[in-house]
Symmetry: C2
């Protein structure tokens, strides 16, 4: 590492740069970026999902959040890196650090494509007091990164309207109607999952993301995509050309925008969080309208009837794989040695038997006992624990099918569970049921509803340090906005057709973790003099663990809910199970 940092400092001197910013973002601010963009890992060795690095001639500093500070001190222990917790408001954030550690009239360098213009604009306001300049067109990391991995494009697949329910041209029509409302004559989409949704294309890659590197520009007449052609996507890009989509090379967007000679006669829509600083600079002379999130994000968050039908199918498919896995683990825990990692393998093998299975929708969390208390436990970054016939296994996983994306968590008793485990499980289940049953006024936001799940736990002095619910993509990102149900203020109203997770939990440090997660859809409830009311429909059916219930903590209505849920589970899944599996499921779903 030290060698790399010395090399970087030499380059900084050569380029008259006093302070250099390194991120792990791609030019589209994706949640999962290609390894190519992980300059933070290259320069520091830190692998956490959230990080930013700032290098001056004297100091090297890394900012990450509370989930990763322990991991960071472990991974950076033989370096000179100082580690900062982003969530700690008493220490400098990276912008304040830059302000305090860059001399008057100094220069801050970075690759403008790897930072959102929102972040840089905030930095600008701060540093102007010291007349510090920005140099945003310089990727120094590239000059020292030997054998930098290539950007992978993956194998393209067309997402047929049998699955996704709406053609590219229909989607374009909807986008243009919204553009008209803003009186915009251009809309630039940077968000990769939005582009995949719009074009009805997915790309299968190793990191279970479906995205491919592409920008899209929509005008009243044209739709231009900036994407590199190769053998794996030629046919599908040709199909797009037949639909009058204009295709240009990925990196030509800069020249293209430059040549437009944009001025205030152009009104351009962009997402203020997804647009990188370089792109923003190219269009800043036009009239810009900053969207809180892309038009396409709000369109794709409302699932159409074909998607809804398919989401239910995908959830049945995954439930079958999961039930086979849970049965196997419970029955063979005494006979075979099995690790957290083996569980993932068994599960994936069961899931991939389906012909429309594409990949897992995220890295499986298979966490035994005390590992379950680490909310973002990654078995691949640790020595997998061997399961014993006692305690709890937290299994959070999901798959992508052509029919949609699943995301389900069950916490499974392996035997000999404590009363505390049962009580916590039952309280988490109460929270889960409370959210799944609630009816709510249209115009309710996720931060209004969050406490509906939590108050059952708060009563007992328990809480979970994550959101109750995130939006879920359709055969796309497992975390999808703009809707979410979480503590923090959020002004997205919950609407009919949105797909969300329902995942309350309890995590007791060094003991165990419990999370129970299903997917829920929003549908109509009733209209009255007081307004329009909505409700959730659960779409994931996997039994809750009977061995984990403290029935004294459940009221009559909750037991009714559970009995009904188990009844549907058996009805839905038994047709697809062997007679032995069916017998097992019958017992798991018996009425209480």
């Amino acid at each position: 590492m030290e060698n790399k940092i010395s090399k970087l400092r030499e380059l900084m001197k050569k380029n008259f740069i006093d302070t250099y910013i390194i991120t792990k973002f791609d030019p589209h601010q994706s949640e999962y970026a290609d390894e190519y963009f992980n300059s933070v890992k290259f320069i520091s060795g830190f692998t956490g999902s959230n990080a930013i690095v700032v290098i001056t001639m004297e100091k090297e500093c890394l900012w990450t959040d509370g989930r990763y500070t322990l991991q960071a001190s472990e991974q950076l222990k033989n370096t000179n890196f100082e580690i900062f917790n982003i969530s700690n408001s008493e220490t400098e954030d990276f912008k304040e650090f830059i302000f305090n550690n860059t001399k008057n009239n100094g220069t801050v360098g970075f690759d403008g494509k790897t930072v959102s213009f929102n972040e840089i604009n905030k930095l600008k306001t701060l540093i102007q007091k010291k007349n510090i300049k920005l140099k945003s067109d310089i990727d120094l990391i590239n000059e020292i990164w030997e054998n930098r991995p290539p950007i992978s494009s993956g194998k393209f697949i067309k997402h047929d309207t049998n699955f996704c329910g709406e053609t590219l041209l229909d989607k374009l029509k909807c986008v243009r109607i919204k553009m008209k409302n803003y009186r915009a004559n251009m809309y630039i989409i940077s968000s990769l999952d939005d582009i995949a949704w719009l074009l009805n294309i997915r790309s299968i890659k190793k990191n279970s993301s479906f995205s491919f590197y592409c920008y899209t520009i929509i005008t009243n007449t044209d739709c231009i995509i900036f994407i590199d052609e190769n053998n794996d996507n030629k046919d599908i890009l040709n199909e797009l050309k037949n639909q009058n989509i204009i295709i240009k090379p990925y990196s030509s967007i800069e020249n293209y925008l430059n040549n437009l000679n944009l001025d205030t006669n152009h009104t351009i829509l962009i997402d203020s969080n997804k647009t990188n600083y370089t792109l923003y600079n190219l269009i800043s002379k036009s009239q810009l309208i900053f969207l809180p999130y892309d038009i396409t994000s709000s369109l794709k968050s409302i699932k159409n009837t074909t998607e809804i039908k398919n989401i239910k199918i995908a959830n049945i498919k995954y439930a079958i794989a999961l039930i086979k896995t849970i049965k196997y683990i419970k029955e063979s825990i005494n006979d075979f040695k099995m690790t957290e990692l083996d569980v993932e393998e068994i599960l994936i093998n069961n899931a991939k038997k389906d012909e429309n299975y594409l990949c897992q929708s995220f890295n499986t969390i298979s966490a035994y006992n005390e590992n379950g208390a680490i909310i973002h436990y990654d078995v691949h970054q640790n020595i997998p624990k061997t399961l014993k016939p006692e305690g709890l296994l937290l299994l959070d996983s999901g798959a992508n099918y052509l029919e949609g994306t699943t995301d389900i968590t069950r916490t499974i008793s392996l035997g000999n569970v404590t009363q505390e485990m049962k009580d916590c499980y039952t309280l988490v289940l109460k929270s889960h049921i409370a959210l799944s049953q609630v009816k709510f006024l249209k115009s309710t936001t996720g931060s209004n509803l969050d406490a509906i799940a939590r108050y059952n736990l708060w009563q007992y002095g328990l809480d979970y340090k994550h959101g109750t619910s995130h939006g879920i993509g359709f055969c796309l990102n497992v975390h999808e906005g703009p809707q979410r149900i979480a503590f923090k203020a959020n002004d997205t109203e919950l609407e009919v057709g949105m797909l969300l997770s329902n995942e309350p939990g309890v995590y007791l440090k060094d003991k165990f973790g419990i999370r129970l997660e299903n997917s829920i859809l929003i549908k109509d409830y009733m209209k009255t003099e007081s307004g329009t009311f909505l409700q959730f429909e659960t779409v994931s059916y996997i039994p809750f663990d009977r061995d984990m219930l403290n029935l004294n903590l459940l009221d009559k209505k909750e037991i009714e809910w559970l009995n009904n849920y188990h009844k549907i589970t058996f009805e839905l899944l038994s047709p697809y199970l062997s007679s032995e599996e069916k017998d097992w499921l019958y017992i798991q779903t018996k009425q209480l």
Copy 2:
């Protein structure tokens, strides 16, 4: 009205003003302003509490909210006023109207003291595209308003530390600590209830507000108040002088600030909602720090132990007055003719028997049957209905005692109630109990908790179009921020010591309205590995109406809550009642 408007237009011409803005705000953006400031009523005849008027040479327009649009069309029917609903996002707001109806390079005039600088700054951004100028130092209304009522100061009373628990000098110390955190060398308070709180002074006036017209400037060494001296406040102002408070005439603040020659070496704190545009202009050359609300607002929202002890006393005092009133109404409804207005009179007569009673804390809402469905029904603006021995009376009232401010609503059966009334009453009670019982994590905001009350109603397609809860002052404003429990996003965290209302309701148009309201205090619940948890303590004890309960809708825990509540009610109040009243209360509070 037409005559006044012609006169105004003549003055506008004379002063080269194209568009004139008229509000009903005082220079402190108070909820209740003196009649002196009601220029809207003077020019239009409209009496609603929320309104803004804009006059051009061609048009006269009035903006108000959904509560008042009907009243406005009634009161303005013989004028040329166009009425706009503020809540209707499809019609122009007053700023857009000004932009669209003022010519290029035109001039918009107003009295800068009657508008917040926040509003005017938004207007500025909009109108600069047409190069429209602002003239903010002109009160044209004053020139045509003959016999304008004087600004009333009221009779001052000192709020003793036996009641309020903290001296002026202690409060100043706390304010200065907060000022230090902001590195500010001056803090200007415009908010009148904040000043009354800080100085431990109340002023008794007709409109049940305790405020007096005053600005306060606090520096590290001085506390200067700008207030007019008169015979009714001389003694108390002299006491302030003895505590080194500097007293200057109310209107001298403009000269005072002008003479300071403020520049960027001065860092001044102001509340961005309470500071008027004229004041802002006088200090805009300094470094301004815009507070979302005054430092004093957050200090006064946390009640101290003396205040808490007294709040409980005030609530017992008012409960006794209310119980006597309810008993009287129920027992004499068959024998005497009684109107909605009579009820208020009986209540006030019962309340004012207490030696520390000062006044009602707001205009009593006494609303019979269908009038109850009008959320802000004002019996003084209507012909009072005569009560009959059937249906429901909604009674929302409160008093100010030296021991604090009360705000309580009970809905009372007068006989022959329908099943629908009983069901709705019981559901509102469920909502009320749900909020009063909830435990919550410290850092929870009011918009997180709001749905805890509402979900019981949502289940049945019911909702109420008002907040669940507002902060309550201490012998001060009945509506006090910054805390509240409402649907709309709000980032004020709920903290130990805050006093709030708990007032869910149901309103069925042309039928009836039900609201059940107690005051609740926030106190500690428990500390665990998951964090610090808080809870509410109910401080108002008046029986809920047994004739109104549908016990099938209440679960075991809710009945337990109610029994316990009634047990405490009897214990707390019976010592202060006659034996006949005690017998009556005994029956009302019998265990279910």
